[in-house]
């Protein structure tokens, strides 16, 4: 539904998007992930016809964004950054305006407005002025505005920015539901969002796509080697030697403090020597206190791909692997400066 080919957008002083190609199929939610000012918003503005591309092209539902701009625009619903709305209008009034603007037939306007009021859970504020609404309701009003003409393609620029956790969960649920029968492209710099919502991820950095795949694939491909952490009671002097002999183990580090011996095993890709470690411990009579496999978080992938200060070869294995493999904490939701 969205096909982007070699899209480039240059400003007089800088290149915002460089030779970007990707596609989004129907029924697929694609996350557009990147640090601030990486080119996410610019790409979306080009796709929605708000900015003309410098080179390359894109098709929305088969319509070229340059030569068939109006048709392409009529097939997409766009939620701009920071939910732009007319503060003086009432919710229903605004949605009816959007419906007329999006060529919804006059007879259907009322029904469509009620439809999105219901699906976006806006019933209790539908007659209120937009300026008096909370941020969460505003975001949902803007989303309802993007849905009122039932577009097959949805482009959402940071749909959850500035919302509280409960609202974020609601919006994500809505997006997942919407994504079942539409092509959805959503941008974010919040990593758990990608894991929670997206079928596929595009990581963009400095205007280029640096990685693409499902969240699982990216983790597997780019998060580095799996690491197994284990701990044994007391001082186990033979641990280093014995563990290093296990199949699939590349490197072993052992730390001992008299009470406990902690080992960190770096393994080959897809290597998982946990069961072997258990058998080894049993046969040697070591008392196993801890055994865990870290598969690297998407956060590691992201940090590695978008880090510019250091060469990627010196990837942050050490800190990433020593942290427990819990879901990454939400990134601070700083508004994107672009």
């Amino acid at each position: 539904m969205i096909e982007v080919q070699n899209l480039t957008k240059r400003y007089p002083t800088q290149v915002a998007v460089e030779d970007v190609s990707f596609s989004v199929r129907e029924g697929e939610i694609v996350g557009f992930l990147g640090p601030n000012a990486a080119g996410k918003t610019t790409t979306m503005r080009v796709l929605t016809g708000f900015l003309p591309p410098t080179a390359g092209t894109a098709r929305i539902a088969g319509h070229d964004i340059v030569t068939q701009s109006r048709r392409a625009r009529s097939r997409l619903g766009y939620l701009p950054e920071s939910a732009a709305l007319y503060p003086e209008m009432r919710v229903r009034e605004y949605l009816a305006f959007r419906a007329r603007l999006e060529e919804v037939p006059a007879r259907e306007v009322h029904a469509r407005v009620e439809e999105v009021v219901e699906s976006c859970l806006l019933a209790e504020v539908a007659n209120r002025k937009i300026e008096n609404l909370s941020k969460g309701y505003r975001q949902r009003t803007a989303l309802a505005g993007a849905l009122v003409h039932r577009p097959p393609v949805l482009i959402l620029d940071e749909p959850t920015v500035g919302l509280d956790p409960a609202q974020i969960i609601k919006i994500r649920e809505m997006i997942r539901t919407l994504g079942r029968e539409r092509a959805v492209l959503l941008s974010t710099h919040i990593l758990p969002e990608v894991d929670a919502v997206c079928d596929r991820v595009l990581i963009i950095d400095r205007g280029r796509i640096v990685a693409e795949g499902t969240p699982g694939e990216l983790r597997a491909r780019l998060a580095g080697k799996p690491v197994v952490r284990s701990a044994f009671r007391g001082s186990v002097t033979a641990a280093r030697e014995e563990l290093a002999r296990l199949p699939g183990v590349v490197a072993v580090e052992v730390v001992e403090d008299g009470l406990e011996t902690r080992a960190r095993l770096e393994c080959e890709a897809n290597g998982d020597p946990r069961e072997e470690i258990f058998h080894l411990a049993v046969s040697k009579g070591w008392i196993l206190r801890e055994l865990a496999l870290d598969v690297g978080s998407l956060e590691d992938v992201f940090v590695r791909l978008t880090r510019h200060e250091e060469p990627t070869a010196a990837a942050p294995q050490e800190p990433a692997a020593l942290e427990p493999a819990e879901p990454p904490a939400p990134a601070p939701e700083a508004p994107e400066a672009s």
Partner: protein, 246 residues
């Protein structure tokens, strides 16, 4: 067409949802009311030319100058407000053309300007019950008011596409309107007959007076309509050009 009307309607209503509109409306009514009482005082003088009474309601210096200040304030919010709130993105990514957006906003602002004049119909009705009023010149006077308003609002629409700042838009509009309005007034200062004749085509004071007398001159129609179209074209081009920069 429906999309155009949706934009016009939203724009026109938006005026009445802001306090500014009511301040403008109140000031305008106050001014018109004052002019009307002056007219009544003149009419009460013995031997006053009663048939010319309405001329002064439309063609007086007050009205022209007030319009000159009024239009920049009416037009200044058209595009800067959309840019500030980001709704310009919603508008331009829906399946409408830039021309539809410009025309819709222009028509909404012109509609508000004409709404300001609507209460003056009461004065016509009052005068009519006390004196014989020919409705022909009244109608043509309103045509003149609408044409002048359309021209000025189109200049304001253009100026508002150039900036994100409402105050800058208002000042810019005023700076454009003052020469447009006053170049015709040089008519009174210049001796050279050829130049004077040329300038008289641009003398809006005279135009308004003509319209108020019931004279609808096609040269005036062509001047106002084509000048309006020119500035709306500039506004559309400026809006399209602005797309190149974020």
């Amino acid at each position: 067409m429906r999309k155009f009307l949706a934009i016009v309607g939203r724009e026109w209503r938006a005026y009445f949802l802001s306090p500014l509109a009511w301040v403008i409306l109140a000031a305008f009514l106050l001014l018109n009311g004052y002019v009307f009482t002056v007219i009544l005082a003149v009419l009460n003088e013995p031997g006053a030319p009663k048939d010319q009474a309405l001329l002064y309601l439309f063609a007086n210096g007050f009205t022209s100058w007030f319009t000159l200040f009024l239009v920049p304030v009416i037009a200044m919010r058209l595009f800067p407000e959309e840019r500030r709130s980001g709704t310009i993105e919603v508008l331009l990514t829906s399946p409408v053309t830039e021309a539809e957006v410009v025309l819709g906003k222009f028509a909404g602002a012109l509609g508000f300007y004409l709404t300001l004049w609507a209460p003056s119909l009461i004065y016509v009705w009052i005068l009519r019950s006390h004196a014989r009023i020919d409705l022909g010149p009244v109608a043509s006077a309103y045509v003149g008011i609408a044409l002048l308003g359309g021209y000025f609002v189109s200049v304001g629409t253009f100026a508002s596409t150039l900036t994100k700042n409402q105050i800058v838009a208002a000042i810019l509009t005023f700076a454009l309107l003052v020469p447009i309005f006053s170049v015709g007034l040089l008519d009174y200062l210049i001796r050279d007959p050829k130049t004077r004749e040329g300038l008289s085509y641009l003398n809006m004071w005279v135009h308004l007076e003509e319209f108020a007398r019931g004279i609808v001159d096609t040269r005036r129609l062509v001047y106002y309509v084509s000048a309006t179209a020119f500035f709306l074209f500039l506004a559309t081009a400026s809006l399209a050009a602005k797309k190149e920069t974020p």
